[in-house]
Symmetry: C2
Subunit: 89 residues, 2 copies
Amino acid sequence: MGQGRSLGLPVKVTVFVSPKSTVLDPQGAAVEHAMKSLGHASARGVRVGKTITFEIDGEDGPDTRKKLDELCDGLLSNPIIEDFRYEID
Amino acid sequence: MGQGRSLGLPVKVTVFVSPKSTVLDPQGAAVEHAMKSLGHASARGVRVGKTITFEIDGEDGPDTRKKLDELCDGLLSNPIIEDFRYEID
């Protein structure tokens, strides 16, 4: 409001969520086992995360980033066991 | 072999797997519904994908990329309904 009305332009957001490095990642362990079984013996440190891409009205600024922080922290990740970061295009 | 022995240096690989744009993404639809419920009415086009990060011995070259293509195509993604790309650090 203090900056006038939003232009209503959509921004494209990609959120990357990954298990914290201190947390066991059973899905990653399963993939690592499968990779080794398939002959990729040197594969290690496999971690599986997720990405969420979407569009939202706004512009890259403090207001949008505040909203995105809330979204990531409350809905898109579990802050106890996951880290997140996002990119805005 | 033709290029001599591998140096055995690890490369760090990140694979991004996402549902093809023509394929329904029920997980993305659920997240979109939740985002709208939380007051982010303008959120749209939500798609959920996954990332797999790991280390593997080799160097960024045709041999490693051939191996990674096979891995992504056969194990890490379902090529019928998903696209993949990867980055090598």
